[in-house]
Symmetry: C2
Subunit: 436 residues, 2 copies
């Protein structure tokens, strides 16, 4: 029954794909891991790169480095273009890679609810490039405000809108509030002492809607203490180069950041499978594609109800558990053992942080807020960061920022060239006379 | 005589501009520092970013952070387009900033000896973007070699040519040799155990030609021990997408890196001044523009013979000394004191490193090689890195790499997309059958 040296192909080296590769290292499967990036990204800390708190190398590690010890593993840096289910091959441009078992862990990207034209004005946050682009925009807005003599233009440059009140939106709004407050207090001359305006907009009635209401209320109060304005219960109606519209209200803002809506990666299209509204593929209780027991979908690209019938959330721990589960099913098949029971998601709790010292932790029966929650958040994130070196560096950085309020990663790489950046234009005509 | 609150404008926040800003902080001058980037770059370690040893944040600091304490200083992130010498104004697009005293510290870029079309095939190393682009190319060449089934294409992908045998070229060649040796020994499957070919080409008879001949000989031997092939006494005759030609010899290489030739920034053009062949402006003995005693040129944009008549080299210590000197002249003028004597360059010695444990130090009478030189090199570079935090991080990183041979910054940011990168194409047609 058991076939030796099964060819297992994993697509995606996010939390799900890595967990599967690690679990399969103990088997004698011949594993190929394909990703179109050479690094694994610790997405929960991506907002810190976007707000200049951490550097990209601190939250990303080369995949080859992470998996170096696994001798049954082969890594390919390439982009998958489709799956041939009949021929049991993954397609990469003109190339094909055959599999006996396939694990798709291709993740998700942000979605604009059918308004893809908003993407240019309200960038989201899924990759390191997104984070570096956002960092650049935020930092250049402050620089442009320093140069601009027109009060209205300056106000627009100092207005930051975050759309979406989930953990990412809350964390981004808090971090931007702290970054701008510190920068405006110390680093500029003309705009020194001014206040940046930070708005957090969500169509729902409360932030952190997946947490319990008391934690949402705490998060709201903590954000307001940081100076963030919350606009809840009203969705964004329009979004363009100059700002956003919420109901009848127009908000002029140079920086609009999208932290709402998730869209699964194209795995559903490759498989021509049935998906939910967010593009996630409906899977069986053992995470396989209906009718194709050799194809697994794990993490954000799958729509899963676990053994208890509850929907599994799109978070890192769920993806890790799913990756390890799929590997366990494959290992059982190879060994001729009975497969494990249906996938069960073990909820380890939810965490979100709101700037220095404030956070919320929803650990089932235990709910934490404030400094204890913040310490717990720090410990949990450092613990799960890949690689001892990154952990140590991140701890040092946080200790340093905590003591000094300093944000060391405030770099804008490209030279500023006039006119290249329509969204953040430098200096109005009236500026000339005054400066000269 | 002495005019209070003189307006001093500094263009460029490299070593020269920063030194001038620091020195002027002690005066009551009204100082404006203009740079088109928001960070100061520690260029001597740029090759380590290009070879994945250090991350950008570790060798760059925001200018506003470095100069935060200087209350008489105003920083503008903008690009200078010219100087109006008669009107005593710096031009920035349509904007003008008036000055009483002007310090131009605009640095240099790489030059292709009139063959600017080579720039696309043989990128140089002056900015963080250059370094990140180079890192991307080098890392993707290894990834493409792993995927390519054609031996000739694979050899081409594993051939790295460094043009220029100065400190940058020597350091790059050594670092690439170590990076590839380590990666090919551990991280790949198909190309595991293969050797990358690294060539260092220079038209002159020896590497490190500004050092004494015994140190050049040591550097040559150290490079050869690392597996670098040296081609000396023969300049590169041609350079294209596929490689380089040296005399009659054609070398197929996916990566050609330019570490030869320096061209001063456009300060000479702005001033319509007399320059040397490299575009550096000839200056008086007090670093001022002939006939314009209120305009100073410091660092790589100036061609200086110091008080002793010797040419001042284009290195960081010389730029720092020149920046501080120009500030001292301005301070003396403001105070009505006699100006200091002509600029004298104090040679602190020359350093270059060749991988782990090998380096050369030319400190006048004292010459060091090997491990002592390498320790001295580490200490000197860490000491001069800006900011305590960066120093500590770099030390930790080096200790870590030294113990583990690991290079943590091996990140390629953008996703790999087929066909976008003509120089590093993935997979030949013959690859398909074999992999499938």
């Amino acid at each position: 029954m058991a076939a030796a040296r099964q060819k297992v192909v994993i697509v995606g080296a996010g939390f799900g794909g890595l967990a599967a590769a690690h679990a399969l290292a103990k088997t004698d499967a011949d594993v190929t891991l394909i990703d179109r990036r050479n690094h694994h990204l610790f997405q929960p800390l991506l907002y810190q790169v976007a707000t200049a708190g951490l550097a990209p190398t601190q939250i990303a590690s080369p995949i080859r480095m992470i998996l170096r010890r696994h001798r049954n593993l082969h890594i390919e840096l390439d982009e998958v273009s489709g799956v041939d289910l009949e021929g049991r091959c993954v397609l990469l441009g003109g190339r094909r890679i055959a599999y006996d078992q396939l694990i798709l862990a291709t993740g998700a990207t942000h979605a604009y609810f059918g308004r893809d034209d908003w993407a240019a004005h309200a960038p989201g946050l899924k990759s390191l490039e997104d984070a570096l682009g956002l960092r650049r925009r935020v930092l250049l807005a402050l620089e442009s405000a320093e140069l601009d003599m027109d009060p209205a233009a300056r106000d627009r440059l100092l207005t930051f809108v975050v759309v979406g009140g989930g953990p990412t939106g809350v964390e981004l709004a808090g971090a931007i509030a702290e970054l701008t407050r510190r920068a405006l207090a110390c680093d500029f001359r003309r705009i020194r002492g001014q206040r940046a305006r930070i708005l957090l907009i969500d169509g729902g009635p409360r932030v952190l809607s997946t947490f319990c209401p008391s934690l949402s209320a705490y998060a709201k109060a903590a954000l307001e203490k940081l100076g963030v304005e919350l606009m809840l219960g009203r969705p964004v109606g329009h979004c363009d180069e100059g700002g956003v519209t919420v109901g009848d209200l127009r908000i002029d803002a140079a920086n609009v950041i999208w932290a709402a809506g998730v869209q699964a990666s194209p795995a559903g299209r490759w498989l021509e499978a049935e998906t939910d509204r967010a593009g996630r593929v409906f899977v069986e209780k053992d995470l396989t594609l209906p009718g194709r027991s050799e194809v697994f979908l794990v993490g954000d690209c799958a729509s899963v109800r676990d053994g208890t019938g509850a929907a599994v959330p799109g978070v890192a721990p769920a993806a890790k558990q799913a990756g390890a589960y799929a590997a366990a099913v494959i290992a059982a098949r190879m060994a001729g053992r009975p497969a494990p029971g249906p996938f069960r998601y073990r909820n380890l709790g939810s965490l979100a942080t709101i700037g220095r010292q404030a956070a919320v932790a929803d650990l089932g029966r235990i709910k934490l807020t404030g400094f204890p929650a913040w310490l717990f958040w720090c410990a949990a994130h450092v613990w799960f960061l890949i690689g001892f070196r990154n952990r140590l560096q991140v701890v040092l950085d946080w200790v340093w920022s905590y003591l000094t309020f300093e944000r060391g990663a405030r770099l804008v790489f490209e030279a500023v060239t006039r006119g290249r950046e329509p969204a953040i234009r430098v200096a109005s005509p009236s500026a000339e006379a005054r400066i000269a």
